[in-house]
Symmetry: C2
Subunit: 117 residues, 2 copies
Amino acid sequence: MDVLDQIKWNEAGLVPAVVQDAENGQVLMVAWMNRESLQRTVDTGRATYWSRSRQSFWVKGETSGHTQTVRNIALDCDLDTVLLTVDQVGAACHEGYRTCFFRDLVGGSLVVNSERL
Amino acid sequence: MDVLDQIKWNEAGLVPAVVQDAENGQVLMVAWMNRESLQRTVDTGRATYWSRSRQSFWVKGETSGHTQTVRNIALDCDLDTVLLTVDQVGAACHEGYRTCFFRDLVGGSLVVNSERL
């Protein structure tokens, strides 16, 4: 059986994909993948997600130029989460930050973490 | 308004929590949190998740001893994903591996990545 058929896609046919920067290990973002988007990612080496809001495939950087070239794809023990290691061009975050995780929860407030900018 | 009320909990009241090793930046696991489990994590400094299968709180390491002391909590731009940086004792994975992401997808097969053991 194909490994992709063993993955435990959720009721919407999706799994979360954690994206890590090959350069420094920073967690850049989390997006969602369905079977076809993972297959396209494998086939093309370009990170390709499923946009839940737009209900369409989303090749990262296709419009922004902030592409992700995939170096490695890992799966977790339960086969319900993907971990991509990527070469990130520019900002992973649509708000222009390198990582989507640019704010910390500190004392009940959100504080921009300057180390992650 | 409390930051926790701004988080975009999904239809089941949950968000994914990515867990990263403070020591070396390795992504250890992804679990799920509801509002109360995040609040308990903040209050206690011990990573506390919501088990979807058992429908109960789950203090990481409570039975195994493989605790996670939380060093940092970040939120993503969309406020729908948490990133914990933790001091991990022992194995994060219930299969005994340091990380749950111990297998890579290579050529259509799952291959144990010895660098992650």
